[in-house]
Symmetry: C2
Subunit: 521 residues, 2 copies
Amino acid sequence: MNGAESLIQTLVDSGVDVCFTNPGTSEMHFVAALDEIEGMRCVLCLFEGVVSGAALGYAAMAEKPASTLLHLGPGLGNALANIHNAKKGNLPMVNIVGDHATYHLEYDAPLTSDIAGIAGTVSHWVHSSATPADIARDAAEAVQQAGIGQIATLILPADVSWGDNPEGAAPAPAPATPAAVAADKLNEAAALLRADKDTVIMVGGRNLTRERGLQLGRLAEATGARVLTETFPSRVRRGAGTAQIERLPYLAELAIEELKSTEQLLLIGCASPVSFFAYPNVPSVLEPEGCTVFPLAGPNDDIDAAIEALLGEFDATGREVAVRPLEVPPAPTGALDANAAAQALAHHLPEDAIVVDEGVTTGLACFPFTANGRSHDWLNLPGGSIGFGLPAAVGAAIACPERKVICLEGDGSAMYTVQSLWTMARENLDITVLLFNNRKYSILELEFARTGARGGKPGPKAASSLDIGSPNMDFASMARGMGMEAIVATTADEFSDALATAMAFKGPFLIDARVPPLQLG
Amino acid sequence: MNGAESLIQTLVDSGVDVCFTNPGTSEMHFVAALDEIEGMRCVLCLFEGVVSGAALGYAAMAEKPASTLLHLGPGLGNALANIHNAKKGNLPMVNIVGDHATYHLEYDAPLTSDIAGIAGTVSHWVHSSATPADIARDAAEAVQQAGIGQIATLILPADVSWGDNPEGAAPAPAPATPAAVAADKLNEAAALLRADKDTVIMVGGRNLTRERGLQLGRLAEATGARVLTETFPSRVRRGAGTAQIERLPYLAELAIEELKSTEQLLLIGCASPVSFFAYPNVPSVLEPEGCTVFPLAGPNDDIDAAIEALLGEFDATGREVAVRPLEVPPAPTGALDANAAAQALAHHLPEDAIVVDEGVTTGLACFPFTANGRSHDWLNLPGGSIGFGLPAAVGAAIACPERKVICLEGDGSAMYTVQSLWTMARENLDITVLLFNNRKYSILELEFARTGARGGKPGPKAASSLDIGSPNMDFASMARGMGMEAIVATTADEFSDALATAMAFKGPFLIDARVPPLQLG
């Protein structure tokens, strides 16, 4: 087989059997090999930011990496923002970046670029295969490196792809396993939890399952500690039957208030909390001065075993724990605003849905409204780079074809990777997009005020830079242009009816919800 | 004034008075400063690839850099592909990339990223300002470094932006001037041109003006050399009254044929020709073995003076030179295909139009059809990274508001930066987009055959990866969704009529031209 075939066979044998692609000329032998090697599902995207965002959503839901196929340095550049997001969320990804043939690089053709340099800024591991005989082993190494939560980027020169690899596929690496937390760390954590101090257990990470949440709930009840999740954990199970765990607020001012009496902060699967941005006269660090911060387990450690061990210390294994009741509000009527939209979502949310949250300001209300709703997974934007929602919904739907995916999306954020709608239609994915069309960068209006720039009051040019309502965007029209069913909703009743239609429909559906912008002050 | 105000004042004083922006929280003081400092035109884009592509098109037409405002590493990543294109085309750009406050970086907030690392891969100069007192001088240095044809990236931490800069704006740098070509190089070139050898003068660069073309025509006629442009010079004046200069073909096989008898190759403003991609059994180098290659002048050298000096050597200053006659074909009728579209363009093309060419396969015919058309500027994609056309049209229209911009755009290529349509509508730019909607990545079908993968015949999965007609895209619907006038054309008559309407209309207009895909073989 040729290099590309041995690469794909190795990926498939290693369990990496989905590839989100936007190929170019240098990747044509990889594309050709898809018909020679069985088992790789190839999902075409029209822009590389969709490719990497889909790989992020897939990894969050499949709990293993997808591969991406990208075209040289500029293609990787286009994918960079969502690779950044995946990296910050500890979600694994195996990027295959095509390059010119090795012998062609010296001529500095127009598309020659510093692929390794670009990749290095967002990857835990970068490697360029030198010969066709190396590529299969390098692919196995990439999967190994991606492991549970890392970004591996393998550069595939065109001649390595088309050259003969007589050895064929390489053996699959051993499955990635989380590292055990050392006994002395567990002892130290137990001692902290025994101390008569105001203690917060902050938990984050890749997948906060219902079971892990219940264990944390037991630990909290047994020790008197409070449990909070980090602000934007990549994935968290929520709704009826889950433990009553709140999240740390986004706004630094509120987060500081939330933690103000905390004397001990135990970190599980997350870093110490920090303000998302810096603001004049607001501290970067959110816990109070003098608070003991103890990192018990990183995101790639065996978190469940560590919590289990602590539960044993406190005789709390299997302890009864309070869970959230099922509370489904009635459908809303009247004007359509953020609360009405959230209420409609909570009313219609089906059991076991996947909610992808890039609803920004309008979407804010959806989180509390669904806390006691039917049980669901909630995906957050872990790295802060806008444009993750629509593609992550694509990846989640590919990973979980039997589950309804609901994507909460702002109008501004939607436009970074709006090409995702086409892949939703092409693959007939069961995704409902709730497009909160408020014709503003409302989050930036809020942030403008928070930074105190110009006394917090934008002048006319600044205000214009935050206003995306001139011209107004019609997302239903855009969605139809990409082959997707869509409807406009201007009242709560219309929105709720549209949501009922979408929930009964199996396939991609967009609701262009005309909502008012966030009211400041 | 604060740092941001001193930065903007310095840019404006240095002649950099347009800023394409997609800001975030860390850039809010820059945005606020737009209302304090006069003279900076701020153009909002919904995606950073539009920002950098617009800066590219602006630089090509204004012959000076625009600034960009980008949000941290991921925003820069989104802009990377078109910065790459500008760099390859020797077009200047001053990128301002916001960063966290300097004291906030150590906390590794979600959006913390290696901005300098990302910037370094596509910039000639990268610098991060340390204090508000530095930022104005650093901005002047950035403008100086951008000069005629370089990429300068200045990283602006939030506290540098909001901090006080008592010194205010810095003095503008001296205008960039091209470097003179050394006398001995000119003598050597003259000797080569005097030799009785088959000689090609290959010319490239930022702006191949009518005057420079005529000078090259004189030199060719006086010496018997042939003049060719590189395949994709950033900007070239064409049509009636310009010199009869052909371009080197894109396909390596044809370029090799074009150059097969060449004994001497004189390079002016471009590098030695090289195959765009590598293919099995096709050489990377396009000139024949044994051909003397002589680089006379780089893109930033004083090319006009060098040619003038050579003309003096051959007593050809002011010599009569053949120019292209005006030949306007009739409007086409019947079926709409690539040739009919090209004929309609040549029929309707107004005097002094700017044509931005990302028409890929369907657009190929437009170039020869307009060779003897009304005089116009033609912008090519210099760096090969698709997604430059629509945003470059935005930038060109901002630079030249009195001229009609016509953007030739493929359906596949349009989707990388389709958000450009919104900025066209928002700024009411006089741009007509000819959207060649053939529902294929036709260029990749061609390239698949050329690489010889799988005997040149895609299997079903590969074929599906090159087919973007499932679902079909309706660009008129997408354009209207972004506030832009649009019409669908399915016959040559409809296309020609739509083009007549568009040429009579002052403002953004999209023609969704339903054309057949490229027929291979």
